[in-house]
Subunit: 388 residues, 2 copies
Amino acid sequence: MSIKLKAITAPPSKEELSNRLKKVRNLMKQQDLDYFISFDPVNIYYLTNFAFYVHERPFILVIPKEGLPKMLIPLLEKGHFEQRALIDVDSITYYEFPARSGENWYDYYQKLIKKDSKVGIEPAMPMGIANKTPGKKIVSEIVEEARIIKSEYEIGRTIHACRVVNKGHKVLLKKCRPKVLLFALYREVTNAMTSKIVQDIPNANFKATETTGAVWPPSISHDPHLIPHIFAEMEEGGPHVSIVQAQVDGYGVEIERTFFLGNVPEKAKKPFATMFEARAIAYDLLKPGTIMSDIDIKVRKFITERGYGDYILHRTGHGLGITGHEAPYIAEGYDRPLEQGMLVSVEPGIYIPGIGGFRHSDTVLITDSGYQKLTRAPETLEDLTIKI
Amino acid sequence: MSIKLKAITAPPSKEELSNRLKKVRNLMKQQDLDYFISFDPVNIYYLTNFAFYVHERPFILVIPKEGLPKMLIPLLEKGHFEQRALIDVDSITYYEFPARSGENWYDYYQKLIKKDSKVGIEPAMPMGIANKTPGKKIVSEIVEEARIIKSEYEIGRTIHACRVVNKGHKVLLKKCRPKVLLFALYREVTNAMTSKIVQDIPNANFKATETTGAVWPPSISHDPHLIPHIFAEMEEGGPHVSIVQAQVDGYGVEIERTFFLGNVPEKAKKPFATMFEARAIAYDLLKPGTIMSDIDIKVRKFITERGYGDYILHRTGHGLGITGHEAPYIAEGYDRPLEQGMLVSVEPGIYIPGIGGFRHSDTVLITDSGYQKLTRAPETLEDLTIKI
């Protein structure tokens, strides 16, 4: 293991951010770009440490192939930007949206990019911004690419974020009993996580912090993206499926478990065991060099052979970083090898109407020789059958 | 007054949603469009009542000029979509992102649009989606336009949402005392609002519900978009500036006040009075037919004449609807007349480093002959000087 597994809570150093910019510029060079324009708040946060909410007043980061990047911001956000941004950047403010003629954001924006230049833009860039962007535009996932392999610093932040969800999940399993309302449970779990966050990081950025602590009780756990009613009651038996997620001062992680209150219905045993084994198949393959689609194909094949092929609703896993859902994907169709420093979820699922949902998920780091789970909670059926 | 001012908490009727679709189709006809494509979750919510979080799995609404609209959704979201969507629509699911060759979202998407057709797309549509969209594409703010004038139903929902923030603001003024931590205050105010929401709308959609209840204490109130430290303490004196906002089961509103704890510093009196008069100027002009930029110009002129021109950081107001920030804008450069059924904020502000910020904001309905404030809280300096 050449990666240090140490939790970090400090903001990124200048060097960390400068390395991220270097990665982006190396990729720009490969594509022979004169500029790269970032509008996606996730990418801007990655490069600057400044988090914001996108509204009608645009924030745009212009990265020339050399020299200081330029950041276009609304006047109203100047103080906020200076408070949080940690890279050297020329900031240019515009007054408002809309503004008097000649003083709109695009009047300033268009001066930042030389005509006839080759300009990389994000797939997420809205048409309304792209149409105001000068030069020859090329859609390119440069920053998304830079974000795929994590630095030691990012891993340290993620380790800390995982401690937050581990704590949340512990509270969840302790408080989840038949008749408890989802609403009450949600408050307890998210309050526990928020308290830990502000204790560990008193200056945490709440524009980049969010917590979720929910349970899908057995009556709806077969439908994982249905939003449960806030007055839904926890039920005896199971499967219940927990979802504990957090973005902790910029770093997104998750932990999920299938669990039972008091007893395990007979018909739930085989699907649980199948999910459990499917997970083991995925973990066995989880090391640098494995093609990600191969994992998903093998996991699906196994579940299908066990008779549950019709009850698969999603891929085996996804990447995590600033967001809780991003590249790389452990999914058929994503033919890229795992590499050291990637962060992925491992979460094969089976969803059977009338019986329920079966899914564990963890946040997992790919190491030089295999993997390291960063989240922790009970895993076996025995440990996840809670006495009531 | 021809608009009934009655709070509504029920979900939209089929007729309400059908009228919204009709508005959009009328605008499509004016632009001779064969299809309009909506990707923006706000617009999709407006048209379908389905709220979701945008991630790497796209949700796309395809509106042909006639016949049922089609909605492309990830398989995982089918149950969720059926739970919340209230319009008649053909829903088409795709398995995952990414997916095996030939089964990706765009393979299905491209079949929904006839080649060589004229296709309207949103300014917010990302390049990555636009590039997969067939036909001759025209960027057009059709749904944004349809959303500007509110129906009686939308007004009723907004009246209810305003009651929620009114309650939140009342709690805020009651609990805000010197030494109280922002963190504690925030929890009390948002808990009070959330409790009212779930009491009034037990089935509220929490993907379209959010509450904020914060105060900028005098040491930072001059910088309205700086995010205060969660352990910031409320201070004696002022100006404090409150921000109480909510999206209540889909409808976004705000109320903000400049207030003082115990005493009003001498140097705060003139800026408060100026803000108060600027506000009166705006309200005097607030009726159908007034050009919105004219209001902003007159308000700025007045503030400038009083010597505070350098301390203006933003326009006089913005529209509200599903979001708390949208067209129309009471801003120089926005040369459109006010119309009955618009919802706007009125919030001229003055921000003086070393003294503080001065801003009241209300959510206001434009009526047939003038306006009606939908939010309510004390307004005068006397009433906003709280005994401690």
